[in-house]
Amino acid sequence: MNGEVDNSGRALVVLRVRPSVGADATQVTAWVDTAFTGELVIPRGTIERLGLRQSAAVMAGLADGTRVVLETYSCIVQWFGHERIVEVVGNDGQFPLLGVGMLRDRRLEIEPGRPDALIGAIVLEELDLVVDCTTQTLRPREADSILTEIE
């Protein structure tokens, strides 16, 4: 999953959010915020536009040190090719935030200024692709071939 770094250096990802199974999805651009310990924050006005329903309430610690009760709302987020039910915290902020709760078991890399995507060895292995250095190409691994590694 790829996002972009804007001119202010903020890491942004575009999420597809829907209120329930089968409902239309809406694109929401969220800042990656590793200081946010939940999964997703969305401003209340956007939550109303998305038509999300309240699921619970939580105690939120804010940047100025105060603590406030905030409502949470259920939604479905497209995440790494799967639909995931996420409890979103609604706040009075201006921008959606994607927190560390969404990053569990994921690796986050932020590289400002890079216009293209890097594909690493783990992705290549998952796609079952082999690098052919002599021709500088990628090819599918032959089913009965053995992969070797030097560590």
Partner: protein, 83 residues
């Protein structure tokens, strides 16, 4: 900020947490999220906020739970880094 209903929900759930759950959960489930359904007193643990809330909603679909994080003053921190 929050509705009166949510504020009352918080008060009831926090009272249950302080009286019945805090000492037990802080030794067995530090840093986990716990969603408390105050009417039944049932509570549901999860490694994420979503896991805990969804477990509570599955058990009590018509009632709203209040979620806390075990051993933390706040369930979630928005924009601060200290627990």
């Amino acid at each position: 900020m929050a509705s009166k209903q949510s504020t009352e929900l918080a008060s009831r759930a926090i009272a249950i947490y302080e009286q019945k759950l805090r000492s037990r959960l802080e030794s067995t489930n530090p840093d986990d999220f716990v969603a408390i359904e105050p009417q039944s007193g049932d509570f549901f643990l999860g490694k994420t906020l979503s896991e805990a809330i969804q477990a509570a909603r599955t058990a009590h679909p018509a009632r709203l739970p209040f979620a806390l994080r075990v051993g933390h003053k706040s369930t979630v921190e928005i924009g601060v880094t200290t627990p």
